[in-house]
């Protein structure tokens, strides 16, 4: 923990310099230099360790651990589970992503309330990370280098894909934005930020395999669920619910498009 705090502070300092610096042009350079300083190290390793601790910690009214949680490969099986999500779960008769499934396990196994689990799933910028972020980081690590292989056997899994694609192209709000506005063409960028084309296998693979990631500019690990929520905020939509059918569908659409590419998370991002 002390180490992760120091890195948090360092990351925030760099982020502050970048946010207040005069020339945007230098941003990419500073980020690249800073990233190079890390070498093969990623501050996410501390968060991954925390995630493992959370998995085995007795919590909630039932004072239970998450060890009996079935992420799709059987109760307690964590190796390779993340790469096979989102997928259909018979016990709830719906498709779930990692966050929806973790929330379900926290409620079922530990007896925690939806209100408590949903209260603050994602940390604020420069904040200490959350339990959800730590668990997701650890589970992603347990799928590192494995091919992305979401479920597409069950009807509901295919429906999730179709819904995800429809949501991807759905324009609404005062700015008329959809996901496709920014992520439907190759070689595009907003200001200096490169935008992956999520309609292609290559673009979706880069985007999907790299989340969750340690966000240098924010000093915390961010999940794919958070990324979706932040995109919709920028689209001027309301607050995307963690684990909702919309976020599960979009992640299914992305994961199917990225299928076969190896997971490379937790990654390290700007």
């Amino acid at each position: 923990m002390p180490n992760s705090r120091i890195i948090n502070v360092a990351a925030c300092l760099v982020a502050t310099v970048m946010l207040t610096g005069p020339a945007h042009a230098d941003e990419a350079g500073i980020f690249d230099e800073y990233r190079a300083m890390f070498g093969d190290d990623n501050p996410a390793i501390f968060v991954i360790e925390e995630g493992e601790e959370f998995w085995f910690a007795s919590q909630g009214p039932k004072q239970a651990t998450l060890e009996a949680c079935d992420l799709g490969l059987g109760p307690g099986v964590v190796d390779g589970a993340y790469a096979r999500l989102p997928r259909y779960f018979e016990d709830v008769d719906r498709v779930m992503d990692v966050e929806a499934r973790l929330r379900f396990c926290m409620e079922e196994l530990q007896g925690r309330t939806p209100e408590e689990v949903d209260d603050r799933p994602y940390s604020l910028r420069g904040d200490l990370g959350t339990e959800m972020e730590a668990l997701v980081a650890w589970l992603a690590e347990k799928s590192r280098d494995l091919p992305i292989a979401p479920g597409q056997e069950h009807d509901k899994e295919r429906e999730a894909y179709s819904l995800g694609e429809a949501v991807f192209y759905y324009r609404a709000g005062p700015h008329d934005f959809s996901c496709a506005t920014c992520h439907g063409q190759e070689g595009m960028r907003i200001r200096l930020q490169a935008l992956p084309d999520l309609t292609t296998h290559e673009g979706a693979a880069v985007a999907y395999s790299g989340w969750p990631a340690y966000r240098i500019s924010e000093g915390v690990v961010r999940t794919m669920g958070w990324r979706m929520r932040a995109c919709f905020r920028q689209q001027r939509f309301p607050l995307l619910d963690m684990g909702s059918d919309v976020t599960v569908a979009l992640q299914t659409y992305l994961a199917v498009t990225a299928a076969g590419a190896p997971m490379a998370a937790p990654g390290l991002k700007r």
Partner: protein, 199 residues
């Protein structure tokens, strides 16, 4: 490899279509109202619905022509016939990316965020490329036709290009008439850095 082939076959063979009611209930169940942003933001108008076709499927040409006409007919030209405000203020609008997100203060003026997608002042290197470069826009002249064309483009881009990615800055009330005039000046004024580049 087998997985890939299976997916390709599946994608080619049985892409389903999502019913509007399913879409609407999924969206309404997937978002929460927060701060000044309500669930009404999820409702589409006719134009948005027409421009939400997956995989950029071509829409019906007759419907597109009608939408273009409707967009054109609804453009409100500046009341006093003056198109150009202050390029300095327009530059601020072009640089400002805030406005209408639930994390933004609704008391503050919205920005146009032009640099997110367009090159303007060439000294600003942090520009996006979703839209064309507008550097030297003023070289196109200040004829009435150019002024009205550009105003219309800012007010409702779909008057010329149905399903353009650009927001309808006037029609959707993102920018005020005065802000639009200021952005116009930033584009047209010979003294604006868009047109008058320091060597």
């Amino acid at each position: 490899m087998k997985i890939t082939i299976t997916f390709v076959l599946w994608l080619a063979g049985c892409i389903g279509f999502v019913q509007a009611e399913d879409m609407s209930s999924a969206l309404n169940g997937g978002f929460k109202a927060i701060n000044q942003v309500g669930l009404d933001r999820l409702e589409q108008d006719t134009l948005q619905a027409f421009c939400s076709k997956p995989r950029e499927e071509p829409g019906d040409a007759a419907v597109a022509a009608e939408l273009r006409q409707t967009a054109l007919a609804s453009v409100v030209l500046p009341g006093n016939g003056e198109y150009l405000g202050s390029w300095e203020r327009g530059q601020e609008v072009a640089n400002n990316g805030k406005g209408l997100q639930y994390s933004d203060n609704p008391e503050e003026a919205n920005g146009g965020n032009c640099y997110a997608c367009h090159q303007l002042d060439p000294a600003e290197v942090a520009y996006g490329n979703l839209g064309p470069s507008l550097t030297n826009y003023g070289a196109r002249g200040q004829s009435d036709v150019m002024l009205e064309y550009t105003w219309t483009k800012l007010w409702n881009t779909h008057a010329y290009n149905v399903c353009s990615h650009m927001p309808r800055f006037g029609a959707q009330g993102i920018l005020t008439e005065q802000q639009l005039k200021d952005v116009m000046a930033f584009l047209f004024d010979p003294d604006s850095p868009v047109n008058n580049q320091a060597e």
